[in-house]
């Protein structure tokens, strides 16, 4: 089977006057159809930079090197316009802060339909039907009313679900989720993770799931790479990472998680 995305030797460098600071160093990974790759690492370890680099989302102050093969094209060599037409359609992405990701001045319906208008030739009736359909599939009540709402009138969890619905609506080959559960409360986190599991089962979409939370990653990811200071320090499935992690940093992450788990169990045990 051919990977959906194959990243080789990817580096991101911050251009500064004195010297280039390397933010991501020689990354290698691949994602197969129907598979979910988890990228684990503390905040600032270069997870977002890694995916932004092959989507053409980096500012001018960064330089990216290496290759990222997708559908027979090296994304690192593609022009701006070509990458733009891939983004949102063939590769879509869900971001961390749902509350700030929508333009505050436009209604949700407007922002959904501008996305469809960009990538499809749908009539306004089809656009509306599809928008309604997404909201219904993401279990959002009163979809008609929600389309007329402004972002500040909806909750973070609801906006996050809209973002996810929009991301899968055009049947992307690859779905990237960059810390999709970090900015929302734990009850909603659970719902959001379920939404991703559903997508995996129903659409067989390849996914990259980025998080600093081992618990969240372990629920959805089939294999995990661990990043620290821009480098991949460990890779394997969840059990491998949990029991055989070589890197001291990865083990620190695991211990942190276990400590939280233990405390949680003690509290629960005490209550019973």
């Amino acid at each position: 089977m051919k990977p959906v995305l194959k990243v080789e030797d990817l580096s991101v460098i911050l251009n500064s006057k004195k010297s280039g600071k390397v933010l991501v160093e020689n990354s290698d990974f691949e994602v197969y159809p129907g598979e979910c790759l988890g990228i684990l690492g503390e905040s600032g370890s270069g997870k977002s930079m890694t995916v932004k680099s092959f989507l053409g989302l980096l500012d001018k102050q960064f330089t990216a090197k290496g290759s990222a093969w997708f559908e027979g094209k090296n994304l690192m060599q593609e022009g701006k316009e070509s990458l733009r037409s891939i983004r949102g359609k063939e590769i879509s992405m869900v971001l961390q802060n749902p509350m700030t990701c929508f333009d505050p001045l436009y209604r949700i319906g407007n922002q959904m339909s501008e996305t469809f208008a960009t990538h499809t030739k749908w009539s306004s009736k089809e656009i509306r039907e599809n928008s309604m359909d997404i909201l219904k599939r993401m279990h959002i009540r009163n979809p008609e009313e929600v389309l007329e709402k402004y972002p500040h009138q909806l909750s973070g969890g609801m906006l996050q679900r809209i973002m996810i619905g929009l991301a899968v609506s055009l049947k992307p080959k690859l779905l990237i989720a960059d810390e999709p559960t970090t900015a929302i409360d734990s009850i909603t986190q659970h719902e959001i993770l379920n939404a991703f599991l559903e997508i995996k089962e129903q659409h067989n979409t390849a996914m990259i799931f980025i998080s600093h939370d081992l618990g969240a990653i372990s629920k959805v990811a089939d294999k995990i790479i661990v990043m620290n200071k821009g480098q991949i320090v460990d890779r394997g499935d969840f059990h491998h990472i949990l029991h055989h992690a070589k890197d001291s940093y990865t083990r620190l992450l695991i211990e942190k998680r276990n400590a939280v788990l233990n405390r949680y169990q003690k509290v629960l045990g005490g209550a019973v």
Binding site: L55, C101, P104, L105, T118
Partner: protein
């Protein structure tokens, strides 16, 4: 929403009363007797104590301070702004009405120039940040904010009107007469708004909603105009609205440089002639304009921002 508007209008009323009081007090602190000046301007040959007392009685200057203020305020509310000390055959309202159109014309032309120049230039500076255009414009903005308007006016007059002989130096009547003074008035505002719009746009470009628009693959033009420019303009609305009264009052110096027969010219000559009613009313008018425009654009911003708009209005 309705309640908010009514509340804002009600809070504006005491503000206007305070402004009227302050401007009355300050004008009357001017250390010279307007009665004496009035006599001199009326070319009375010998100014005697009796003549002064007579004129004081005629102008109501013999009454106590506070009574004069109250009388003046009530007359103003009835649309009676008094009679010019200098030329008793003219009412203040008539004088202002005579000069107002020319000033409005100048301020209006300046406002159009501000909008037509600063928005596109600010926009392009932000889009091509650190490019040649941006660098040149930043240089110009830096230079022009440091230059006083009267000096710019004289410089332009010398260069464009005298050396190049492209436009008339002074007076009014045709649109050619309007260009130089309007440009002089608007120059510092253009600089201010270029900078404001540029910085606002750059600030907006860093926002998450722009990243997400890019993530969704929206065309660059659409992101820049529909999203970034609109959000940036939004924060500029109040500033531009507030600059309308500033433009109207800011014409004083420029009107005098270009002999533009508007309120500014009237105001300066009234100051020289100690024509208190005219100065007082002019200052009051400008004060009221500030309050009204502040109110208007504050409400406008509230209405146009969905986050500030209350449900079910």
């Amino acid at each position: 929403m309705k309640q908010y508007v009514i509340k804002r209008i009600l809070t504006a009323i005491p503000l206007i009363i305070v402004i009227s009081f302050v401007c009355f007090v300050f004008i009357n602190l001017i250390p010279s007797n307007p009665a004496e000046v009035a006599l001199r301007v009326r070319q009375v040959p010998i100014i005697t104590e009796e003549a002064i007392a007579e004129v004081e009685a005629e102008l109501g200057l013999d009454k106590p301070y506070f009574i004069r203020y109250i009388t003046w305020l009530f007359d103003c509310l009835h649309g009676d702004f008094g009679i010019s000390y200098v030329n008793p055959s003219r009412t203040v309202a008539g004088e202002l009405a005579r000069c107002l159109p020319a000033t409005l014309q100048l301020a209006g032309a300046s406002l159009v120039m501000v909008i037509l120049l600063s928005i596109p230039i600010g926009f392009l500076c932000a889009v091509y940040k650190d490019g040649i255009f941006d660098k040149v414009m930043r240089g110009l903005v830096f230079i022009t904010t440091a230059m006083p308007p009267y000096w710019v006016g004289l410089l332009l007059m010398w260069l464009v009107a005298i050396k190049l002989d492209l436009l008339p130096t002074s007076g009014n009547g045709s649109w050619q007469h309007l260009i130089l003074p309007a440009f002089t008035v608007s120059l510092s505002y253009i600089s201010t708004y270029i900078r404001l719009i540029r910085n606002n746009m750059l600030e907006n470009m860093k926002q998450d909603y722009v990243l997400y628009a890019n993530v969704r693959g929206l065309p660059q033009k659409q992101i820049l105009i529909k999203h970034i420019l609109k959000n940036s303009m939004h924060t500029c609305i109040v500033a531009i609205g507030m600059s309308i009264p500033q433009l109207i009052s800011g014409t004083i110096v420029v009107e005098n440089v270009f002999a533009w027969p508007g309120l500014g010219t009237l105001c300066i000559s009234s100051i020289f002639n100690r024509d208190y009613p005219v100065i007082q009313t002019y200052v009051l008018l400008i004060g009221v304009l500030f309050v009204v425009f502040n109110l208007l654009f504050d409400i406008l911003q509230t209405i146009s921002d969905p986050r500030m708009r209350k449900e079910g209005m």
